[in-house]
Structure formats: structure tokens, C-alpha cells
């Protein structure tokens, strides 16, 4: 027998006890909202960086061979055209920019002859990245100096125009001209090919497991296997694709090389377990009375599946498939392994063409050397802004896919109950 509890054990109004609950609730709420905060921060950072790319400069001609030189309006960028009187530009610069570094042509005299202009062009092109601006036009050299608002190299453009520019241009070594056209095209190719491979295979495998395999060791083994496949790091699939598809263990005739085929098959295998698991779950929601009714009417097993089980499981399957495909679109590491890493300045022409993909291009641009100190401040046009634009394109693509999945799920929620 336990001794009777002492009355002091019962203290329902102990302060710590009353305080603990709300405090803990608050801690939980804070923890949960970190997710929302991070999402907001992430979008904010990406959009801010992206918008930096939309800023152009108001160029103002302040000196030329014809007009009289004058100081630029306060707050405007200083642009000097090289056909203005000798040495004048630099005097204006020095008066205006006070101690700021200027593009040095080594002479106070600006070039006049064609040969000299060529030499200056070469010199200026070597100054990349041009923290102070130097732009070379067809027949003249435009110099600018001072703190630059936005990017004097580019005109002002709206966010949509910038996105459009990014989608139009191919991969480039110059961030002002860089874009994602090759990557987007490659990703769409991959998407189409992965869809063609992994939907039939994944759905079929799930049907086999749910409708044909009796519960037992065999089914359990495959089930455990699929669960483990879903947990294999994506880069390991990349290694599989590299050895099996790209190089075929050195058998030249079977090797696919760094083609879309290899990339699509690798991604297809990667999302296969996800599709199988989602399809299985969808098939499980189909009431067994439906199957039994069809079987009782003399339908064969396949007829039951084709005409009754699949149609009522389609919304669930579709949701799972779209989510799996959106995972495939965002995968980078396996594609790097199977050879999408190279900068490909052309669009893929067919499934056995070399390619690059949107996330891979984002990675390449994000990895370009950049000046850390410039982040958050106004600076020259950087690859960061291009990468941010690419991420926006990727997120919009993913959001569209996920929204489609959610709409399908909501529209067909509880398709057939009994």
C-alpha cells in the first residue's frame, strides 16, 4: 500500500504551474511562426535583389565636342562622352567626384584616332567588373564615375520586363546580358521526359503493389525498399546516373553521354518512389466495395482497375504526381552529376542533345565571384541579380504546379464515399 498522498502535493494554483502553460504555448507559437518568417524573409531577399537589377540610370550628356561642358544635376549620374574637348572630362570628374576612383585611361587626353579608340576599348573591357562605369559604344567611349544609382549600363525596366529579358537571353559571361533561356528550355524538356517515364512506371508499380500483391513478406520487402529509396540523398541518384546512363561503366556504345536522356532518367528514378507512395495512398482511399461490385458483375481484375479504381483515384494520383514533378524541377545536385553543369549556350534540339537546367544555371550564376561588400548596397550589375531573377522564375513555376495540385485536391476532395 502506498502511503496516502500528503496534502501539500496538491497545489493547483502554484504560480510556476500557471505560468508554464502560457509561456510554453508562446514558445510553441514563436517556433511555428519561424516558418512563416523565413518564408517572408526568403521572398523578400530574393525580390529585393531581383529588383536591384531593374534599376537603370538616367544618363545625362554633360560634355561633348559641340556643347559647352557643365556639371551634372545633383543626384544624377555623371556621364562623359569621349568626343568632348581634351582633358575636360577628367577635370569635371575630379571636381565632382572628389577622390572617387575613376577609370584611368593613363592620359589626360582622350583618344581621337580610330586606333586609339580601339586600344582604349580593350583597356576598358579588361576592367571587369567595372565598379566605375566604362561603356564602349560603336564610335565613342562613354565614361561615368561616382556613386551610381542602379546600373547605368542598362535602362530602367519594370520587374516584368527584367523577367522577360532574363527569359529571352541565353547563358552569358556578362551579367547584363545573362539569362535563363537555355535552362528553362532544358527544364521543360526534362519535365516532359520525366513525366513520360515516371508516371506510367510509378503508377503501374503502385497498382501492382496495391491490387495484385497479397500482403506478406514480398510486399513488405518492396514497401521497405521504396521507403528507403525515398530517403536516398538525391546526389546518390546523380552518381547512379553518372555511372549507369552517362558512362555505362565505360561501354561506349551504351553510354548516353551528358544528354537529356541521362538527366531525365536520373530524375525519373529519383521521383519514382514519391509517385509510387502517393499513388498507393490514393488507391487505398478507393473503397473496396467498388472493386467487389465490379468483380461481382464479372469484370476482370484489369477491367476493375481501369474502369473503376483508377478513375476514382485519379485526383489523388494527380496531386501526388504534380508534387513529385515539382520536386524534379527543383533538383540541382543530381543534374550536376549527370552533366548539366556545363554552360550550354544553345537550346537543346532533341532528347539526345546536351542541355542545362534552370536550377543548375541559378547555381552557376550564384556561384560567380562577387563582391560581398556590395550586397545590400548599390553596386554594379552582378550575377546575384540574375540568380535572384532565376529563382523567381523557378518559384513561379513551382507555385503554379503546387497550386494546380491543391486545386485538384480540393475540387475532388472525397470523390466517392462508399
Amino acid at each position: 500500500m502506498n502511503p496516502a498522498p500528503r496534502s501539500s502535493n496538491y497545489e493547483p494554483d502554484r504560480r510556476s504551474r500557471r505560468l508554464m502553460g502560457p509561456l510554453f504555448g508562446l514558445a510553441c507559437l514563436v517556433a511555428t511562426s519561424t516558418g512563416v518568417v523565413v518564408l517572408a524573409l526568403l521572398l523578400g531577399a530574393v525580390v529585393t535583389t531581383f529588383l536591384k537589377g531593374t534599376k537603370g540610370a538616367d544618363l545625362e550628356l554633360i560634355a561633348s565636342s559641340k556643347g559647352t561642358p557643365r556639371l551634372p544635376t545633383k543626384g544624377k549620374d555623371l556621364v562623359v562622352v569621349a568626343d568632348s574637348p581634351k582633358g575636360l572630362q577628367f577635370r569635371i570628374f575630379n571636381a565632382y567626384a572628389r577622390g572617387k576612383r575613376i577609370v584611368d585611361t593613363n592620359e589626360s587626353r582622350l583618344p581621337e584616332k580610330a586606333g586609339e579608340i580601339e586600344a582604349l576599348k580593350k583597356q576598358l573591357e579588361g576592367l571587369w567588373p567595372p565598379h566605375e562605369l566604362a561603356r564602349v559604344e560603336k564610335d565613342r567611349v562613354v565614361l561615368a564615375v561616382g556613386s551610381i544609382v542602379g546600373h547605368p549600363e542598362v535602362r530602367h525596366r519594370s520587374g516584368l520586363e527584367f523577367l522577360g529579358d532574363l527569359m529571352r537571353s541565353l547563358v552569358e559571361s556578362d551579367p547584363r546580358l545573362a539569362g535563363f533561356r537555355a535552362g528553362i528550355t532544358g527544364s521543360l524538356w526534362l519535365l516532359a521526359m520525366v513525366t513520360g517515364f515516371s508516371i506510367p512506371v510509378g503508377v503501374s508499380a503502385a497498382i501492382f503493389l496495391e491490387e495484385y500483391t497479397p500482403p506478406g513478406w514480398f510486399r513488405r520487402t518492396i514497401q521497405i525498399n521504396i521507403a528507403n529509396l525515398a530517403g536516398v540523398p538525391s546526389i546518390v541518384y546523380g552518381l547512379l546516373g553518372l555511372a549507369l546512363f552517362v558512362n555505362a561503366f565505360g561501354f561506349q556504345r551504351l553510354a548516353m553521354g551528358e544528354t537529356l536522356w541521362a538527366g531525365a532518367l536520373t530524375l525519373g528514378l529519383l521521383i519514382l518512389p514519391v509517385i509510387v507512395i502517393a499513388t498507393q495512398e490514393a488507391l487505398r482511399t478507393v473503397p473496396s466495395s467498388l472493386r467487389q461490385a465490379a468483380l461481382a458483375l464479372g469484370a476482370s481484375r484489369w477491367q476493375v482497375i481501369r474502369d473503376h479504381v483508377l478513375p476514382s483515384a485519379v485526383p489523388g494520383i494527380l496531386t501526388g504526381v504534380i508534387l513529385a514533378l515539382s520536386r524534379a524541377i527543383g533538383e540541382t545536385a543530381p543534374l550536376l552529376m549527370v552533366g548539366a553543369s556545363a554552360a550550354v549556350p544553345f537550346l537543346p534540339k532533341g532528347p539526345s542533345s546536351e542541355y542545362t537546367a534552370l536550377p543548375v544555371e541559378i547555381y552557376n550564376y550564384a556561384n560567380e565571384p562577387y563582391d560581398q561588400a556590395r550586397i545590400g548596397s548599390e553596386g554594379p550589375f552582378e550575377f546575384q541579380e540574375v540568380a535572384a531573377g532565376g529563382i523567381l522564375i523557378l518559384l513561379v513555376l513551382l507555385l503554379t504546379m503546387n497550386a494546380t495540385a491543391i486545386v485538384i485536391r480540393n475540387r475532388y476532395a472525397r470523390p466517392s464515399q462508399g
Binding site: 531577399a45 528507403n228 553518372l242 552529376m337
Partner: protein
């Protein structure tokens, strides 16, 4: 109605004579097709094991590196001509461990608290907003998290820690830990929330009936009851952190180093692979083959974690009627 009666009087239009040969053939073909598709999932596993195994074997036979040396070596220098005999995976394992440890220190508490909030505290409306948001976070590609580390986390760390006299490398392990930690929060919270919600209501109500507060019910009744599932979700999340590539590449860089300082660049098993493949290793060279040796180590580490997770889930699950 009359037409129906007439039909019935006329007898069945078609007498059932068993399945036709065509139908039998079709059934068989469909069965074979489905079987092949299911077999592909098994073949993938076999493929991964064979590919990693064969190439790893080639790595050890083609280079001077012994298995023991590989597991204990502290240098990851690999020349195209051949590796130094001191080549080993230890710095990579250390880097991986650092990222896994750091990110779980962030993700496990946050994830667990979010799960408790969602399952015990949140009003239905709040839950309806928060849950999809967390799912959305889980769907964001990891490269985006890596970009976030470069763009936001590292500059903030720099701004905060530099005045304290610490030097923050552009690529550092800490920012990798932070972004990977944030990345795996949704995994912990959604898996844990599932098991917490599955704890039967009667248990909670018995607790309340005995005079327990909400805090006591959550932490002393619901959480212990769901402990196996929560632990399993923890292990899965750690496994995910171990296999994470792109976020770590962009945040932590690729310099192998065994160091306790989280503000310097490190290299993990995954980022080593990216570094080697970025260096255009010739197919069949020891450098190329070392990818697979490291890959095999990675594969086994995550496999062990995943198996452990499902073991915990099955072995220690409390089953309620």
C-alpha cells in the same frame, strides 16, 4: 420500365462463357507490365548498390589508398594522376557531422515545438494557414536555401559577429547549419505533428480530468505517448541534413577542414562530389572513382539512419485501440 421487362423476358443478350482468350492474354500482359514496373523500383536499389560497390572497388584497386587509410586519412587532395596515399574521408565526415549536428540543434527544437503547437494549441483557423505554409517551405528547392545563405544569413552573421572580433568567412559552416536547419524544420514538424495528432483523445481527456494543465497534458502525456514517432522524425531529418547538397555548397563552400570553428569553410561528403564533378574529372581516373567511394559512405550513412528511424517507429510504437 416496360422495355426493361421485355429485355428480361428475352433473356440475357449474351451468355457468359468464361473469359475469352483475348481477355486472358490481356490480363496476363497487364500483369507482366505492372510486375516489370514494380521491379524497376527494386532494380534501382540494386543499381545504386552495384554502381557504388563496383566503382568503389575499382577505386581501391586502382589507387594506393587502402580501405583503412580511406576511412582514417585526413587529406582530400587528389591529383588527376593519382591520389596521395594519405587520401581519406575523415575531413568530409567531420564536415557532414558538423552540418548535421548544427542543423539539428536548430531544427529539432523548432520542429518539435511547432508540431506541439499545431497539434495541441493552434485554433483550427490558424492551423489551416500554418500547415500549408510549412508544407510550402518543404517544397522550396534546396538551391534557393543556399542562395538565401549567401544573400542574407552570411552578411547578417558578418554584421553581428565581426564587431565581436570574430572573422567570418564568406563561406562558413554556421550559415550552412542555419539554412539546412530551417530547411528540415517542416520535415520534423509535419511528421511529428502526425504522430502527436494520432494520440487518442481519451488520453488527453483523462489527463484534464485529473486536473492537469494543457502544458502538462502536452508534455507529460501526449509527447511521451508519441515519442517513437517524434524520434523517428528526428532521425529522418538528420538523414536529410546528411544528404543535403546544394544549400551546403553555396553556404559552406568546399574547403575540407577538420576544425571546431564554425565560421570557416568546410567540405561535406556531398559538396566534395560537387567539387570533383565541377573539376571535370576524367572518367575512370582515381579522382572520378573517389566520387563513388565517398558516395557509398554517404549512401550507407543515410541508409543506416533511415533504417534506424523505421526500426524506432516499429519497435517502440505504442499502439492504441
Amino acid at each position: 420500365m416496360k422495355a426493361l421487362l421485355d429485355d428480361m423476358a428475352a433473356g440475357p443478350p449474351h451468355r457468359w462463357t468464361g473469359p475469352t482468350p483475348f481477355r486472358q492474354l490481356r490480363e496476363r500482359l497487364v500483369f507482366v507490365f505492372l510486375l516489370v514496373c514494380a521491379a524497376i523500383t527494386i532494380l534501382t536499389t540494386i543499381g545504386i548498390v552495384v554502381v557504388l560497390g563496383v566503382e568503389t572497388f575499382q577505386f581501391f584497386s586502382k589507387s594506393d589508398v587502402s580501405v583503412l587509410g580511406f576511412l582514417t586519412g585526413t587529406s582530400t587532395d587528389l591529383e588527376e594522376s593519382g591520389p596521395s596515399p594519405k587520401f581519406g574521408i575523415l575531413p568530409l565526415i567531420w564536415g557532414t557531422f558538423e552540418v548535421a549536428l548544427g542543423s539539428s540543434l536548430i531544427a529539432l527544437p523548432i520542429g518539435l515545438l511547432s508540431a506541439i503547437y499545431l497539434s495541441e494549441y493552434a485554433p483550427r483557423r490558424v492551423r489551416a494557414v500554418l500547415k500549408p505554409t510549412l508544407e510550402l517551405l518543404a517544397g522550396i528547392p534546396t538551391i534557393v536555401y543556399g542562395f538565401l545563405a549567401m544573400l542574407l544569413v552570411t552578411p547578417v552573421l558578418k554584421a553581428v559577429l565581426t564587431p565581436l572580433g570574430l572573422t567570418v568567412n564568406i563561406n562558413n559552416a554556421l550559415s550552412a547549419c542555419i539554412v539546412v536547419g530551417i530547411m528540415i524544420v517542416p520535415m520534423v514538424s509535419s511528421l511529428s505533428e502526425d504522430v502527436l495528432s494520432a494520440v487518442p483523445r481519451g488520453l488527453r481527456e483523462a489527463g484534464y480530468g485529473l486536473g492537469a494543465t494543457k502544458f502538462e497534458v502536452s508534455t507529460k502525456i501526449v509527447l511521451p505517448a508519441a515519442l517513437s514517432g517524434v524520434t523517428a522524425s528526428f532521425i529522418l531529418a538528420i538523414s536529410r541534413a546528411v544528404g543535403e547538397t546544394m544549400a551546403v555548397v553555396l553556404a559552406a563552400g568546399m574547403s575540407p577542414r577538420i576544425s571546431l570553428n564554425p565560421l570557416t569553410s568546410i567540405e561535406t561528403m556531398t559538396t566534395y562530389m560537387v567539387a570533383v564533378i565541377g573539376g571535370e574529372a576524367t572518367v575512370g581516373s582515381p579522382k572520378y572513382l573517389s566520387l563513388f567511394a565517398v558516395g557509398l559512405t554517404l549512401f550507407f550513412s543515410t541508409l543506416l539512419l533511415n533504417l534506424l528511424s523505421s526500426l524506432v517507429l516499429r519497435r517502440y510504437r505504442e499502439i492504441y485501440q
